[in-house]
């Protein structure tokens, strides 16, 4: 029975109908469970009922995952059952359920959004994105470091050259640099001095390049992931023949 449950839960790579149905079912339930959060007045009985049913289903899914975790770890050790509740995904799962069950104070209600993490667990595309971020982690971290340094330098230069009326605090300068670099530009804070405007222009040019870099890294990583996925499929097909 546990083996069947395991195959049902970790099925997205094969095309078993029952497993695919289960994946979709849990993803839909996870999305439905957060629907009441989209309404200001979500105390209506229908919302409560909807959320309760969804939580019961998601809790059951949590239990099924717990009881098959040793198979997931492939080492078949009984310690897997002790480790499971402390794994990041399990913690997020249970944290998303406890507020509705009244087992956490109402200030923790926001944790209910963590139920959407189920989409990560069950969706193959999401898993691919996570893989890309995992593989390209170091490159992305380097790019992020450059971006943060660039924001910091632009903000500092602007803070020094612009009148105090425009940028009263360094935080304002940081805020301006971030919104300008990411091309959001709310326009509530802007330079007025000649030097400030020149810095702003230069900053915008380089900013576009810096912001575009992570997008390129992620795209390249995603393409690699797709290619390796295709290769894996071809290998499987050859094996079946």
């Amino acid at each position: 029975m546990r083996r069947y449950i395991y195959r049902l839960l970790h099925n997205s790579d094969s095309h078993r109908r029952d497993g695919l149905f289960y994946d979709w079912f849990i993803m839909i339930v996870a999305v439905i469970s957060v629907v009441p959060m989209m309404f200001r007045d979500n105390s209506a009985p229908i919302f409560r009922a909807l959320e309760s049913v969804a939580v019961y289903i998601l809790f059951f899914d949590y239990i099924l995952r717990w009881m098959t975790y040793d198979m997931n770890m492939k080492n078949n050790s009984i310690w897997a059952f002790f480790i499971y509740p402390f794994t990041p995904l399990a913690l997020m799962d249970i944290a998303g359920l406890l507020p509705t069950l009244g087992l956490l104070p109402s200030s923790f209600m926001i944790l209910r959004v963590l139920r959407l993490v189920k989409l990560l667990q069950y969706s193959k595309s999401f898993r691919m994105v996570v893989n890309v971020f995992r593989k390209q982690g170091r490159t992305l971290a380097s790019v992020l470091l450059i971006a943060v340094a660039y924001i910091f330098i632009s903000a500092l230069v602007m803070f020094i050259y612009e009148p105090a009326d425009n940028f009263p605090t360094f935080f304002d300068a940081l805020y301006w640099a971030t919104t300008a670099l990411t091309t959001v530009g709310y326009g509530d804070i802007y330079p007025t001095s000649d030097i400030g405007q020149i810095i702003s222009m230069v900053s915008s040019f380089f900013g576009i390049a810096i912001i575009a870099m992570p997008a390129g890294v992620v795209t390249a990583g995603f393409m690699d992931e797709l290619a390796s996925e295709e290769k894996e499929k071809e290998r499987e097909a050859e094996g079946n023949e």
Binding site: M1, F59, G102
Partner: protein, 206 residues
């Protein structure tokens, strides 16, 4: 679907339905007659012993789901931890060298009473609620008035009820197990590794 698979599905479905029926039926009897016991885990233990602990875990969840949605509040679903401990303790401890060893029943029962009393105390304190059974509440009240610390009062009151509960279970589980036809107990397909390494070298036979 081949015949053996069909038979296995039928066997699991029948035993699990019997277990669920026992859980809910005996719970109602105890509830209506106001007996000092819960009896809502008898079927869970029967399924865990007859089939495998996983089957007990599933029907235990179904029972808790019924109780929390139809009788109590939704937050009582967390008491599933006690039901799960019942399925695991009876399902694992009663198996020795591939056979059901009834000699191990007292040890399993004692373990279950201890674990369930502690779990019950922890959960009740977490929920900040008083014991829901009248009998449990009576024992709890006496403990508190005798100056026993809150946690121990919860644990002793829950343990007292669980002791009576488990004593009844120790009679009912073997009886139901004996009454079930042999074909329902055929669990040879369960691998030795069903519940991890401590049971790696055991093969479960009917």
């Amino acid at each position: 679907m081949n015949d053996s698979k069909k038979k296995m599905i039928i066997k699991y479905a029948v035993v699990m339905l019997i277990g669920l029926g026992l859980n809910i039926g005996l719970y109602w009897i105890a509830h209506i007659l106001k007996l000092p016991m819960w009896l809502d885990t008898v079927g869970t233990a029967v399924a865990a012993v007859t089939l495998e602990p996983a089957a007990g875990l599933i029907i235990g969840y179904a029972t808790n789901l019924f109780e929390s949605s139809a009788v109590y509040m939704s937050d009582t679903i967390i008491y599933y931890a006690i039901t799960a401990s019942c399925a695991l303790i009876f399902g694992i401890m009663l198996r020795k060298d591939g056979k059901i060893s009834w000699k191990r029943l007292p040890l399993a029962a004692l373990s279950y009473v201890t674990v369930s009393a502690v779990l019950s105390a922890v959960i009740s304190i977490w929920r900040n609620s008083l014991p829901s059974s009248g009998w449990e509440l009576m024992v709890y009240g006496k403990m508190i008035s005798a100056g026993v610390p809150n946690f121990f009062a919860y644990a002793v009151s829950a343990g007292a009820l669980k002791l009576v509960d488990t004593a009844v279970m120790c009679i009912v589980i073997p009886v139901v197990y004996m009454l079930l036809p042999e074909s329902m107990k055929n669990v040879t397909h369960i691998s030795a590794t069903t519940w991890g390494s401590p049971f790696k070298n055991t093969k479960i036979r009917s």
